[in-house]
């Protein structure tokens, strides 16, 4: 009908993708018979525009439809390594990932990036606590109202903070509204579902932040494509002393009680017998995953797994640990203490026995932030928590960490260490690890500490 109009490429945003109408096949696009047009993931927006510009094709670009944005200014002064990190990111076309230890002020770098680019930004964080923390920091530093997506709230503003889950669900509608994406704890992004967020947003500028870049499943290689590569990295050892509190690590081995020992051995044997019988071995997470799948159809495999879990539970939750814990608590009668466990059950037990405020993933956010506020103010001297606080929440005043049980994950270990390492004058942090001797837990604890020796 309109031959001339056809010659001009027209780019629009459609549910997380870019529709290109016209005669030119743009890079990374595929012909979509459903719409009679070329289609590409929104992720490739910048490449497509660059290509069309370089080739001097005429085109109309209706993809981005940025939210109206107030003038964004901040008076943040960055520390030298923070500034270096930001410069490295800017030099990489404002794409890529900054790796810094917990407690080193990643949030500040993010806010500075927002004010420099002065563009509507979506910040994506893994937990509601972190979403809340970003919101209040952004509000304070930039002096603007901040939108929230997630946890039942759905208010979109020029600067919005979202959970990964909500960003995933709403990507098809919001993908063209923000110039900058900031992924906090970016190591979550390569997960199969979440990577859609990066793919469905057209935002040309992307910043990833994390303390733990590598994933055990190797999927961090995906981040190159989704956010851009690693542009800057500093480790705990690089910053300890000058920027983070010095710390020492103390390991306490406890013996299982006789009853516990007996039951532990029984269950452990039942598990290893099964492996021998079936000629199986469990050397890495993938092996274990196979075993879990097998247990779906094989009742014996399921019983073996249940026995293994029971043995772990005994080792993790030994009564002797409670005694050791009691000793440490007495030793630090002025300390500010954070206790970590693997299971909620143990959290409840400790909370009950020592009347220590607890936070689990079931704790309502109001009580959770009240508890953390009171910990910060000194009204509460201790908090016990399961994995829920592994990431990101600031508890700068903690100087004693106690790990009662945990997995072999290096990441969780580093994150937990980070909780107590935030710099404060004259502070020396202690991290205790209470491990049941002569159980598989010894091995588990050794695995997670590899992170320090690297």
């Amino acid at each position: 009908m309109y031959p001339i109009a056809d010659a001009i490429m027209k780019l629009t945003f459609d549910r997380g993708t870019i529709l290109a109408k016209g005669n030119i096949r743009v890079p990374n696009s595929t012909w979509d018979e459903r719409s009679k047009a070329f289609r590409a993931m929104a992720l490739h927006y910048k490449d497509i525009i660059d290509f069309l510009k370089i080739s001097s094709f005429e085109f109309r670009d209706h993809v981005l439809n940025l939210l109206p944005c107030p003038e964004l200014q901040s008076s943040i002064k960055l520390r030298d390594y923070q500034k270096q990190a930001l410069d490295a990111w800017i030099a990489n076309d404002k794409l890529g990932i900054i790796v810094l230890p917990t407690g080193s002020g990643k949030t500040l770098i993010g806010i500075k990036a927002i004010s420099l680019l002065n563009t509507p930004t979506l910040v994506i964080a893994p937990t509601l606590d972190l979403v809340d923390q970003w919101r209040s920091r952004l509000k304070d530093e930039l002096g603007i109202e901040v939108g929230i997506l997630g946890g039942g709230e759905r208010e979109i503003k020029a600067i919005t903070v979202s959970t990964y889950d909500s960003a995933y669900i709403h990507a098809d509608r919001l993908g063209n509204k923000f110039g900058l994406l900031i992924f906090d704890e970016v190591h979550h992004l390569p997960a199969e579902g979440f990577r859609n967020i990066a793919e469905m947003f057209a935002s040309p500028f992307r910043l990833g932040l994390t303390a733990t870049f590598e994933r055990e499943d190797g999927l961090h290689t995906e981040l190159n494509r989704l956010v851009g590569g690693k542009v800057f990295e500093k480790r705990v050892v690089d910053l300890v002393g000058e920027h983070l509190s010095p710390f020492r690590l103390e390991k306490i081995a406890v013996e299982l009680t006789t009853d516990e020992k007996e039951e532990y051995d029984l269950n452990r044997r039942s598990f290893s017998d099964y492996l021998t019988r079936c000629n199986l071995s469990v050397r890495n997470p993938a092996d274990f995953q196979k075993l879990v799948m097998r247990s779906g159809r094989d009742p014996q495999a399921r019983n073996a797994l249940l026995a293994r879990n029971k043995a772990r539970e005994i080792a993790f939750n030994s009564i002797s640990k409670m005694e050791a814990l009691s000793e440490i608590l007495k030793r630090h009668d002025e300390g500010r203490i954070f206790i970590f466990t693997e299971h909620n059950k143990l959290v409840h037990r400790i909370s009950r026995e020592f009347l220590i405020p607890s936070i689990t993933y079931k704790t309502a956010s109001k009580e959770r932030s009240e508890t953390l506020d009171r910990f910060r103010s000194g009204a509460y001297r201790a908090v016990v928590t399961s994995r829920v606080l592994d990431e990101g929440i600031d508890v700068p005043d903690a100087d004693v960490g106690i790990i009662l049980s945990g997995t072999g994950s290096e990441r969780a270990f580093i994150q937990r260490l980070g909780r107590i390492l935030r710099k404060k004058d004259g502070k020396e942090a202690v991290l205790y690890e209470i491990v049941s001797a002569k159980t598989s837990e010894v091995n588990t604890a050794r695995k997670r500490k590899r992170a320090l020796s690297q």
């Binding site: 459903r34 399921r302 009668d333 220590i356 309502a364 009204a379």
Partner: protein, 505 residues
């Protein structure tokens, strides 16, 4: 729907199928037992219930847990404590400063806090953890039959399987409207070929993705509400060898093993303003929500509402969304509609657009409320136009009335000619029929009127007069009395005292 860890499937030769719980004696007994466990745990803690289910699991644990998951949704589970646990904790932790290290100190702290709250120490300690899952109380349980439980379980299995669908092809023989508005609402894309509807999403051409699986699972109830239907889905499944695609097929012949997790005929609205519109009511017009699929170029367009009156149909679209490109799309689509002349658009005033962008006159802006008066004016315009059209049509026709009848109901005649009563009456008035008199919506023969005139002689009470009209089936009695030369004299408020009087001529 179930959590994905409870999905049980069977695969063979590239096909996948949930392991359905057929309504066998054995399964019915299991279902009955699980229901029984729930029933006896009303009034006990959730922890006890969970333990009882755990010990019942045996080898078939995924089946049992699946049933339990469905039944749990039918329970009211709440904390059992007079003291608010959060307040209890706050009081205790304030007293402990967040930590005690000995039993004595512990008791002392609890006593102090209890004193402050004026409660007993034991009650306080119990309240401290009353909101923990294990301590919650199962307050109510809405039982169901074992058959219904198994059916619902089977439906849940299919929906849970569809979470992992990369694409789905469906065929339905009716219920198109509901299916299409669900497709629209769920953000799926479709292509139609030879009556088969192929569904996936915008990203699907780049990769196999489960992103749209949830939407397809949500579509299932609408599909199943069709009389005859079939579906084929490509399911992504993790295997030790990596992800594989399996085919899943289902059709209406297996309908009896499925229950309904949904309620029929429940209308859902996208916004409060749409709901308001639906509830307003426009006299004589029948309002229907998302009534049809219209063609807008290559796209399907499903308007929010239709309004119907005597065969005249107009469509209403409410535009309250906030993104400019959405609006641009909408304007483009509406301008391509064949039915655009009969579209009424209600546009949120805060949207950055002017009415002139739409190629139709019926554009109204609203702030918070539906512009009811303006809409009735538009409707009036259609009513008048319809009336004129029909009157013109009727004038050209010979209206055949059944002359053997003493009383002719005009609504029936209007129905026969497919016109409104109003138009028919208009034309009948013009025709001035010698043998009949138009009374209300009826034509009454002179013969009957004469008889009635005779019968009315000597009648005083209004009620008695009504009785006569009733006997002959005349509805517009006031008008009839008047035409026979009477008027009604009311005394007081009681209609029984009313009388009729002959007006002197």
């Amino acid at each position: 729907m179930l959590t994905s860890d409870l999905l049980v499937t069977r695969t063979s030769k590239g096909r996948i199928e949930p392991v359905y719980a057929h309504l066998s004696q054995e399964n019915l007994e299991i279902a009955d037992s699980v229901i029984g466990i729930f029933q006896v745990h009303v009034g006990r803690t959730y922890g006890e219930l969970a333990l009882a289910i755990d010990s019942f699991e045996g080898v078939n644990y995924r089946f049992i847990r699946g049933l339990a998951q469905i039944l749990e949704r039918r329970c009211t589970i709440d904390k059992d404590s007079a003291i608010d646990p959060v307040a209890a904790r706050r009081a205790v932790f304030e007293e402990s400063r967040g930590l005690v290290t000995g039993d004595e100190e512990r008791t002392a702290v609890l006593d102090m806090a209890a004193k402050r709250l004026s409660v007993k120490s034991d009650d306080l300690e119990k309240a401290l953890w009353a909101d923990q899952e294990d301590n919650l109380l199962v307050k109510e349980f809405q039982a169901m039959t074992p058959e219904d439980l198994l059916r619902q379980y089977n439906l849940s299995l299919v929906q849970t399987l569809l979470f992992k669908a990369a694409g789905m092809e469906i065929q339905i023989e009716d219920n198109y409207q509901q299916v299409f508005w669900a497709i629209k609402r769920l953000g799926l894309m479709y292509t139609i070929q030879d009556g088969r509807i192929y569904l996936d999403g915008a990203l699907s051409i780049f990769k196999l993705t489960e992103k749209y699986g949830t939407a397809m699972a949500k579509l299932l109830p609408a599909i199943m509400m069709a009389g005859r239907w079939s579906l084929k889905a490509s399911i992504l499944k993790k295997t030790p060898q990596g992800k594989r695609i399996y085919d899943f097929a289902l059709d209406h012949t297996e309908k009896r093993i499925f229950g309904r997790e949904f309620e029929d005929g429940k209308i859902s609205f996208d916004s409060a303003i749409e709901k308001e519109f639906y509830q307003l009511g426009f006299k004589g017009w029948k309002v229907q929500r998302e009534p049809a699929v219209l063609k807008a170029g290559q796209y399907a367009f499903i308007p929010d509402f239709s309004m119907e009156r005597n065969g005249t149909r107009i469509y209403v679209e409410i535009i309250g969304f906030w993104t400019p490109e959405y609006l641009r799309n909408k304007i483009q689509k509406i301008n391509q509609l064949e039915e655009k002349e009969s579209m009424v658009l209600l546009v949120n005033r805060n949207l950055a657009c002017s009415g002139s962008e739409f190629e139709t006159d019926n554009v109204f802006f609203y702030d918070r409320k539906i512009p009811y008066l303006e809409i009735t004016k538009v409707l009036r315009k259609y009513e008048v136009k319809q009336l004129t059209d029909e009157v013109t049509k009727l004038r050209d026709m010979e209206i055949s009335l059944d002359g053997s009848m003493n009383i002719i109901g005009l609504d029936e005649v209007a129905g026969r000619y497919g016109v409104s009563l109003e138009a028919l009456k208009e034309v009948i008035k013009e025709q001035d029929n010698a043998d009949y008199l138009l009374l209300g919506d009826q034509l009454v023969s002179d013969e009957v009127l004469d008889t009635i005139r005779g019968e009315l002689k000597g009648v005083r009470k209004h009620d008695d007069a009504l009785e006569i009209f009733k006997r002959y089936g005349i509805k517009a009695h006031t008008q009839a009395l008047e035409s026979l030369g009477y008027r009604v004299k009311w005394s007081g408020l009681d209609p029984e005292n009313a009388e009729i009087l002959k007006i002197k001529t």
